[in-house]
């Protein structure tokens, strides 16, 4: 039988895949993709817990997470376009202007 822990473990694995993507990639567009993966992983956990306890609050939170992801993509892509016009590259190493 598929229980709550199955879904939570799947969510943890997907979240870690997104985390590896954030740590490993140097392209900002790929960082946005990895953020989407992490947001989706949390959504699965929220909906699974909501189903387990018969509570609608988890689904509400997942709903707002989707709204936040949509606005994040709109603003993030706008900023990426401005960056690409200005620097001609999306690589984080090229964009590092402050040599710390």
């Amino acid at each position: 039988m598929i229980g709550l822990s199955h879904y939570l473990i799947l969510s943890a694995i997907l979240f870690s895949i997104g985390l590896v993507g954030i740590l490993r990639r140097r392209n900002i567009l790929m960082l946005l993709f990895a953020t989407e993966i992490m947001l989706n992983a949390t959504n699965i956990a929220f909906v699974a817990i909501s189903d387990n306890y018969g509570d609608l609050t988890g689904q509400m939170f997942a709903f707002y997470i989707i709204a936040i992801a949509a606005s994040e993509v709109a603003v993030g892509l706008g900023l990426l376009i401005v960056l690409y016009k200005r620097h001609g590259s999306l690589d984080l190493d090229d964009l590092a202007s402050m040599r710390g």
């Binding site: 039988m1 598929i2 822990s5 879904y7 939570l8 799947l10 943890a12 997907l14 979240f15 870690s16 895949i17 997104g18 985390l19 590896v20 993507g21 740590l23 490993r24 990639r25 140097r26 392209n27 567009l29 790929m30 993709f33 990895a34 989407e36 993966i37 989706n40 959504n43 956990a45 909906v47 699974a48 909501s50 189903d51 306890y53 018969g54 509570d55 609608l56 609050t57 689904q59 509400m60 709903f63 707002y64 989707i66 709204a67 936040i68 992801a69 949509a70 606005s71 993509v73 709109a74 603003v75 892509l77 706008g78 900023l79 376009i81 401005v82 690409y84 016009k85 999306l90 690589d91």
Partner: protein, 197 residues
């Protein structure tokens, strides 16, 4: 343990869960590890559709439909439009320093998360705040809770989406970063065209 796995594969829910989870993990791994942005975007879109399958299994029909419409219909279309500005067909060249360190860190955090989530929950104090109503569909149930208990967050989310839309237009649009009313060169252009007439 193994008999349990085989028995759960025989049920519809178990078969769908294992099929969807293997496919989702594989597709998201392609997204994270691929060198080509188009491959990454396509596999991300496919993974999003499969995640809506989980929502349908869990009885959250409305959220599953929203997942398909918003993520695959809107967000992925937005990414696809943004591809026109970037050179998407070329492979990305990245210098990935310390790849073993990244995988060790990711693996350790995965292990920690799995151990946290797999731990049994010992509490009787957890009760449903807004319990699901019997004999009412998921869409109606979500609507009733969303428009009574979560009305103000809903309005704030609408405002947030408006702000995001305006900022997206201003950032991506041409010549949107300078004000038209304070721009004196625009006045000169208008005067010149008037003089020419």
């Amino acid at each position: 343990m193994f008999e349990n796995f085989i028995a759960s594969l025989m049920t519809v829910e178990g078969f769908a869960f294992y099929l969807f989870s293997i496919l989702t993990i594989g597709l998201f791994l392609v997204t994270v590890l691929s060198k080509n942005i188009l491959y990454a975007m396509t596999s991300l879109a496919a993974g999003m559709i499969l995640i809506s399958g989980f929502f349908f299994i869990l009885g959250a029909d409305f959220l599953g439909v929203i997942q398909i419409i918003v993520y695959v219909g809107a967000i992925m279309a937005l990414y696809a439009f943004a591809m026109m500005f970037f050179d998407a067909t070329r492979n990305i060249k990245e210098n990935n320093t310390n790849a073993p360190l990244v995988f060790i860190l990711g693996g350790l955090s995965a292990l920690m998360l799995v151990m946290m989530f797999a731990a049994p929950i010992h509490s009787d104090a957890i009760v449903a705040l807004y319990p699901m109503t019997e004999g009412v569909g998921n869409v109606q149930d979500v609507g009733m809770v969303l428009f009574t208990k979560y009305l103000i967050p809903f309005e704030v989310a609408a405002l947030m989406l408006l702000v995001a839309m305006i900022s997206g237009i201003i950032l991506a649009g041409k010549k949107m970063d300078n004000s038209l009313t304070e721009d004196t060169s625009a006045d000169d252009e208008i005067l010149i065209t008037k003089d020419e007439k």
